[in-house]
Symmetry: none
Subunit: 90 residues, 3 copies
Amino acid sequence: MNTLEPQLQITIVTIIVTGVGIVLGTVVPAWVEGKAVLKALEGITRQPESANDLRTTLLISMALLESTAIYVLLVMLILLFANPLLDRFF
Amino acid sequence: MNTLEPQLQITIVTIIVTGVGIVLGTVVPAWVEGKAVLKALEGITRQPESANDLRTTLLISMALLESTAIYVLLVMLILLFANPLLDRFF
Amino acid sequence: MNTLEPQLQITIVTIIVTGVGIVLGTVVPAWVEGKAVLKALEGITRQPESANDLRTTLLISMALLESTAIYVLLVMLILLFANPLLDRFF
């Protein structure tokens, strides 16, 4: 891609990296959150009297698990909207 | 792709990245949400008296699981409608 | 694809991405919704007195599962009808 002008190369690389990155970065959080939900539902079924404890623990845990997906989203938005390295080119 | 003009390259890359990205980004959330629904329905069958607890936990969890799909949708819509790097080309 | 004119390339890429994308994007939601229906019917058979709980949970869950398919449909319709990058070519 040496013959392309710099802005074009940067734009194409940014589009590909942000698109691929947000997809890959949300796969694992969604997967482990789903497994936590399964286990909590199973626990409520087996011990109905612990339902409140299980639900509270599940929701706090999911909020914390969600944070890794939010970090990925944050970096992707920075790459798109506030990449400080681009000042020289745009 | 060296002979293509810049706008054309960017347009084609954006179409492919958004189309492929939204498909891949919704697979895992849909899959784990579906497994959570199965587990909740199974739990209601085995412990009918816990139906309300199970349903409440299921619905809150699904809303949280949905959020990772929404992050992907957000980035895809930004790439289509509000990519700030495109100002120079379009 | 160097010899094709730009409009032709964009049209072909859009047709392929939207056609393939909507098919792949609806596979997983349809599959897990179907499995949820099977599980709910099985539960109603085993616990007829829980039929209302199972049906309510199933219908709300299916509406939520449907949402990931709707995200894919949304992006595909945008690519076809409202792709803002195409203004320059058509």
